[in-house]
C-alpha cells in the first residue's frame, strides 16, 4: 500500500475509518516507521489540545449560572409564528409589484391610444375628474374649510386642461398618474430598506 496522506491518517487517528481501508492502513503502519511517527505526532497534538480543555470548576457553579440565566429569561417569548418576520418584505414587495404592474398598464393604454387602437380617454377622464372634484363630501369638508366652492375648483383644474389639445390632455393625465404611482413606489422602496436595516435583526438572529 502507498503511504496514506495526512487526511487519511488523521481520519484513522480519529477512529473515522472502517473495514478494509482501516485494516490496510493498520497493516501499513506496522511496517512503515515514518507513517507510524506521523500518526504519533497527531496523537501528541490531540493530547496537548485536550489538556487545554477547561475543567468544570473554572466556570461559575451551577446554581450561580442558573440564577443569572433565570433573571435574563424573557417572561413573554417572542412571537411563535415563524412567518411574522418575513411579512413586511413580502407585503412591501407585493405593493411594489402591483404598482409596477399598474404603471405598465398606464403606459400600454397610452401607447394604444397613440396608435389609434382604442379611442382617446381624455374626454372621459376629464368628465370623471370634474365629477370627482365636485363630490359633495369634498364640498362639505375640505372646500368649506378652505372657503372654496366646488364649481371654482372644477373650473380652476379643468380650464387649463381644456385650453390644450386632446393629445396634450392625454399626455398630462398620463404623466400625473405615472407621477403618483412613481411617488408611491419610491415610498415602498424607502420603507423596504428601512425595514431591512432596522427591523429585520430579530429575523436574522434566531440561531
Amino acid at each position: 500500500m502507498r503511504h496514506p496522506d495526512e487526511v487519511q491518517l488523521q481520519a484513522y487517528h480519529d477512529g473515522e475509518l472502517e473495514g478494509e481501508v482501516r485494516e490496510q492502513i493498520q497493516a501499513h503502519l506496522r511496517q512503515c516507521v515514518p507513517c507510524a511517527g506521523r500518526l504519533r505526532e497527531w496523537g501528541e497534538l490531540s493530547a496537548a489540545l485536550r489538556q487545554t480543555r477547561p475543567a468544570e470548576d473554572v466556570f461559575s457553579p451551577d446554581g450561580e449560572f442558573w440564577a443569572r440565566l433565570a433573571g435574563r429569561l424573557p417572561k413573554m417569548r417572542p412571537s411563535t409564528w415563524p412567518l411574522v418576520p418575513y411579512l413586511p418584505p413580502f407585503l412591501l414587495g407585493a405593493f411594489g409589484l402591483l404598482t409596477e404592474g399598474l404603471m405598465s398598464v398606464v403606459f400600454l393604454v397610452y401607447a394604444l391610444i397613440g396608435m389609434g387602437v382604442i379611442p382617446p380617454l381624455a374626454p372621459a377622464l376629464g368628465t370623471w375628474l370634474s365629477k370627482a372634484l365636485a363630490d359633495p363630501l369634498l364640498e362639505d369638508s375640505l372646500y368649506s374649510w378652505l372657503g372654496w366652492s366646488s364649481s371654482e375648483v372644477v373650473h380652476a383644474v379643468t380650464q387649463p386642461l381644456e385650453a390644450v389639445s386632446l393629445a396634450a390632455q392625454e399626455t398630462i393625465l398620463i404623466l400625473a398618474i405615472v407621477f403618483a404611482l412613481g411617488t408611491f413606489l419610491s415610498f415602498v422602496v424607502v420603507v423596504y430598506f428601512s425595514w431591512a436595516m432596522c427591523w429585520s435583526k430579530s429575523a436574522r438572529t434566531n440561531e
Binding site: E6, V7, Q10, A11, D14, E16, E41, W42, L45, S46, A48, L49, R50, Q51, T52, R53, P54, A55, E56, D57, V58, F59, S60, D62, F65, W66, R68, L69, A70, R72, L73, P74, R77, P78, T80, P82, N206, E207
Partner: protein
C-alpha cells in the same frame, strides 16, 4: 427512540410550553458542553459564560419552534458555535487585530489553567481562522464524529476533514 432520548424529548416539550423547571434540567444537562465549546472558541472563561447565557436565552426563545431535525445536542452546539463566533467578531470590531495583546481580564483560575505548554497551545488555537477552530474544538474537546461536526456546522464531511487537517497542520507548525 431509546429511553434517554424519550426523556429528553419530554423535557423539551415541557420546556417549550413554558415549564421553567424542565428548562433548568435541560440547562444543567448541557451547560458543561456549551461552556466548554464556547471557551474553546472565545478563549476566556468570562466570555464563555456570557456566550453560554446568550445561548440558553436563545434556546428558551426558540424552543416552541424547535423541530427535531438531528439531535438536541447538535442544535445546541450549532447555536453555541454561532454565538461564540458572533462574540469573536464583536471583540475584533472593538479591538483592531494589530493591537490585540491577548485577554488582559484573565481570571486567576485561567492563569493557573495555562501552563507554559497549555499557554502556547491556547495561543496557537486562538490564531486559527474561526471555521477551522470551531471544527477542531468540536473534535478535540467534545469528541464529536466527523458526521456530527458536519451536522453542527452545516458543511459537508469533506469540508470538515479539510478544516481539521488545516487546523492541525497550522498548530503543529506553530508548536514546533
Amino acid at each position: 427512540m431509546d429511553q434517554v432520548a424519550m426523556a429528553e424529548a419530554q423535557l423539551i416539550e415541557a420546556a417549550a410550553t413554558g415549564n421553567v423547571g424542565a428548562f433548568s434540567q435541560l440547562v444543567r444537562q448541557y451547560r458543561g458542553r456549551v461552556l466548554r465549546t464556547a471557551f474553546g472558541i472565545v478563549g476566556s472563561t468570562e466570555e464563555a459564560e456570557d456566550v453560554a447565557q446568550e445561548v440558553f436565552v436563545k434556546v428558551w426563545n426558540n424552543l416552541p419552534r424547535y423541530r427535531a431535525q438531528g439531535t438536541v445536542a447538535s442544535w445546541l452546539y450549532r447555536i453555541t458555535v454561532n454565538a461564540a463566533l458572533d462574540a469573536l467578531r464583536r471583540k475584533q470590531d472593538e479591538v483592531p487585530l494589530d493591537d490585540w495583546q491577548g485577554d488582559s481580564s484573565e481570571l486567576p483560575e485561567e492563569a493557573a489553567l495555562r501552563s507554559d505548554r497549555g499557554e502556547r497551545v491556547r495561543r496557537a488555537l486562538d490564531s486559527l481562522p474561526p471555521g477551522a477552530r470551531s471544527a477542531l474544538i468540536l473534535r478535540e474537546y467534545e469528541q464529536l464524529s466527523y458526521k456530527e461536526i458536519a451536522e453542527v456546522l452545516q458543511i459537508p464531511i469533506g469540508t470538515v476533514m479539510s478544516r481539521l487537517n488545516y487546523a492541525r497542520k497550522v498548530l503543529k507548525e506553530r508548536l514546533a
